[in-house]
């Protein structure tokens, strides 16, 4: 094993960097949802509450989670965690979220909040009345 940086290493760096950038770009392009969104709160992988992010106004939800009570509030179109019992308060540190790419994850409390897009008339493309 050599100590000096060689051509192969540089090539590796360039490829991975470009790949990383492309992937980040792609993940934004294909998951950004415009329009109505909802914030789904999952506890122990089960949906326990849904915030409607397309309606203005405030809403809050509290749940007895693994480590204690967790309080989540929504203001207009973003959500955040305000209270939780965990060592580093990572959940509340994550701040506000309103993007599908930025779920709020509170693993010690086995809770996460997913942002999803929602289609008003569900599965039909056209409705014949």
């Amino acid at each position: 094993m050599k100590l000096k940086l060689n051509k192969l290493d540089i090539l590796l760096t360039i490829i991975i960097s470009i790949l990383g950038i492309i992937l980040i770009f792609l993940s934004f392009k294909y998951t950004h949802i415009s329009g109505d969104k909802v914030a789904e709160v999952y506890y122990k992988n089960k949906l326990v509450y849904t915030f409607d992010l397309s309606s203005k106004g405030n809403d809050s939800f509290e749940i007895q989670a693994a480590n204690g009570p967790v309080k989540i509030i929504k203001e207009d179109d973003h959500v955040r965690v305000v209270e939780e019992n965990s060592k580093r308060h990572l959940c509340s540190l994550q701040g506000w979220s309103d993007e599908t790419l930025a779920p709020i994850v509170c693993l010690p409390n086995e809770l996460y909040i997913k942002i999803e897009g929602v289609d008003k008339n569900d599965d039909v493309d056209v409705f014949i009345k």
Binding site: L11, I15, I18, L19, I22, F25, L26, K29, N121, D123, V124, D125, V126, F127, I128, K129
Partner: protein, 337 residues
């Protein structure tokens, strides 16, 4: 080294080329109903271009097929009616074709969808208007309807293939193509806008749907209304055909003594048909779909099945007892909620 660069370039190309189409829609009034135009295009500018084409075309056909208003420089159905018993009227090819096909279907199907029945139908329309405006309603007098019915024979229509003219023999004969016009117009417009370059879209003209292409390579999903609660859908079709038309007893009606009088009048009884709650016809021809959705609304499932075989269309029947019958050809594409 070369391999790696080519893979990279390929990746970049792929990300560059896949530009997703966005969904846009617009609604406007035509043919006395709300028309919804939905399209998947590159951007709003492109959508607006197609939207204008669709609206202009609808205005054109609305005037051409209108039986109640005259328009400058257009020989439409009203013109034909005005000249009943007097002279033949030369009309646009599309109107001529519409009338000729309706006559053909009438004689070869079950003789239920009569475009000359308008004197009778108009009596019911008066009551529908009363109902919508909270005025008192009564059923039209049967003896009066029978009088009016003397002028409603289809044999009144005299076609001239050479000069595309229509002549109504009796002075009292009045034509109304309302039971076939929307389906035909929607189909024509969809075909036209497809030729102009639109690859994915839907035109929904108050129950007459024409589909263009598909939604990102998946078939469009059509929702059919629940007759008891027409704001919800009771089943969906993953449609690979292009034209779907539904006739339902909840579309235009008036209530009298707790009974619903719908808008599709049976020429044999001169009363609203009382066989089904809704009939949906699925086929690739909009005129055919509209014609048979009206006709089959008045028929039982055995007769419908025979017509479907003869004229090649699929159907979904929701009968008086809420029982749903789906034709074999589309059984796999229909999901009941």
């Amino acid at each position: 080294m070369k391999k790696i660069i080519s893979i990279l370039l390929l990746l970049i190309l792929i990300t560059g080329c896949s530009s997703k189409n966005e969904k846009f829609d617009d609604s406007f009034l035509s043919f006395d109903t709300y028309i919804e135009f939905t399209a998947y295009t590159k951007d709003k500018e492109t959508f607006d271009k197609y939207d204008k084409i669709v609206q202009d075309k609808f205005t054109y056909y609305d005037q051409l097929f209108d039986a109640y208003n005259n328009y400058k420089n257009v020989n439409n159905v009203k013109t034909i009616n005005d000249n009943a018993g007097k002279k033949a009227v030369v009309v646009d090819q599309d109107l001529y074709y519409l009338i000729k096909e309706s006559v053909n279907y009438y004689h070869n199907a079950d003789k239920k969808n009569n475009i000359m029945l308008s004197p009778v139908i108009n009596q019911y329309k008066i009551q529908q208007n009363n109902y919508e405006n909270n005025k008192p309603v009564t059923n039209p007098s049967m003896s009066y309807l029978k009088e009016l019915n003397k002028c409603t024979s289809m044999s009144n229509i005299q076609l001239n293939d050479k000069d595309h003219s229509i002549y109504l023999k009796e002075k009292c004969a009045q034509m109304d193509v309302g039971s076939v016009a929307k389906g035909y117009a929607t189909d024509l417009i969809a075909e036209y806008v497809k030729k102009q370059g639109l690859s994915s879209g839907i035109i929904n003209a108050g129950g007459n749907v024409s589909l263009i292409g598909s939604k990102n390579n998946k078939p469009f999903v059509i929702g059919i209304a629940n007759p008891d609660d027409p704001n919800t859908y009771i089943l969906t079709i993953d449609s690979e055909n292009t034209n779907i038309v539904t006739s339902g007893d909840y579309q235009r009606y008036y209530m009298i003594n707790g009974k619903r009088m719908n808008h599709i009048i049976d020429p044999d009884t001169l009363l609203p048909a009382d066989v089904n709650r809704s009939v949906t016809i699925i086929t690739d021809d909009g005129l055919k779909a509209d014609y048979f959705s009206t006709e089959c609304f008045m028929l039982d499932k055995e007769k419908i099945a025979k017509l479907a075989k003869k004229f090649n269309f699929e159907y979904i029947i929701i009968d008086k007892n809420e029982k749903i019958t789906i034709s074999d050809g589309i059984k796999d594409e229909v999901k009941i909620k």
